[in-house]
């Protein structure tokens, strides 16, 4: 699924990285707990989270997350946006709460991290 499609499905706003909307994400992972993200997420995923501080971007970087979508209308601060831009990591934001955001993407065919066998 491309980020463009994610954007449409979630009615999301692109906060940074609008040039990379053709980029493809292979699966999704929703969590506010970065330790869980580090433990379970696979490469080339879309991370959905309510955590907007720079740690979300750092975590994404460690595990090769392709893009982050912030849920329930949480807008990240400039420090987070700047860090994401320096790493070339696209950021999106949707007004939808976590459950609905994940649900819509799943319904549209984006698999979860435990379902897709994928290694770079």
């Amino acid at each position: 699924m491309t980020l463009d499609q994610v954007k449409t499905i979630l009615g999301a706003e692109v906060i940074s990285g609008s040039a990379n909307l053709k980029m493809e994400v292979k699966m999704g992972c929703g969590s506010d707990l970065m330790s869980d993200v580090l433990a379970f997420i696979k490469s080339d995923s879309l991370l959905l989270t309510g955590l907007t501080n720079p740690q979300a971007v750092r975590t994404a970087e460690m595990v090769d997350v392709k893009a982050i979508c912030f849920v329930r209308g949480k807008r990240p601060g400039q420090d987070t946006i700047r860090l994401a831009e320096s790493k070339g990591l696209p950021l999106l934001m949707t007004e939808l709460p976590m459950f609905e955001a994940c649900g819509r993407l799943y319904r549209a065919g984006l698999p979860g991290c435990s379902e897709l066998k994928w290694s770079p």
Binding site: S35, A39, L51
Partner: protein, 308 residues
Amino acid sequence: MEQSQGIGRVQELTYELKVEEVMTRNVVTVSPDNRVSDLRELFRVNRISGTPVVDAGRLVGIISIEDFIKCLANGEMDCRVRDRMTSKVEVLYAGEPVVHAINRFQVSGYGRFPVLDRESGRLIGILSKGDIIRALLKKLEIDYQEEEIHRYRASHIFEDTVADRTSLTLEYDIKGKDFDNAGKASSSLKRTLSRLGFHPQLVRRVAIASYEAEMNIVVFTDQGRISAIVQTDGIVLRAADRGPGIPDIELAMQPGYSTAPEWVRELGFGAGMGLCNIKKSADEMELRSEVGKGTDLRVTFHLKKGGP
């Protein structure tokens, strides 16, 4: 062999690249009401040999230097463009792969195709064979540079070094309670290991362990150090601090056990998964700690032959 691989990559690129990525966006156009004589300056100044004819944003035709020459020979320079243009225009759409365009050039023998946006039907660019060649060369150059970086591998450093034992030590100082920079050391370590050419899976495992260890140092101590010792047979990650120490290591290793203050959860950590994550990523893990003196974590990652 090399050459056939090169051609293979070019063919791949013609499928990967879309027309809109290679086309010229700033299209010079004429109105159907222009006179053929106007084309002379237009073609000369822009160094082009043909141009789309656009009426109110819609593509209505195309006129080329051949049409112009015919008019010149027949003394029809005062004719309107609309009367001398080709109005049945063959076009390409923005999202088509470049390989389609190449086939169209071959079949039709045309020098250029106007490019339309499929939804709006508007003219958004023009594509010539030159555009395709330029884009392919540029893309190949980028590929080549990336490959060059890739070739610069850790194994080469070790292969070129003659010693009984070789190791490369990367050290990072971590400041406690500095949340703006928390994760920066692990980020630098990850980038360095990638550049050294380690397998992405291994780099990822080291990065996860390093990041969790770094967060522990930032949250619980005033300062510490993370080091990675890169050897021929693996990577040893060390995280050492002079913080409060861990009273009961066995308890601390239990998933979900945490002594982190509530505010750490706002950072997305402090759920008692850190040490478990480190252990999960590692091949070996050794944790030593003394209350009041500090903690010393040693994590080993083996370099397996032919894999991560």
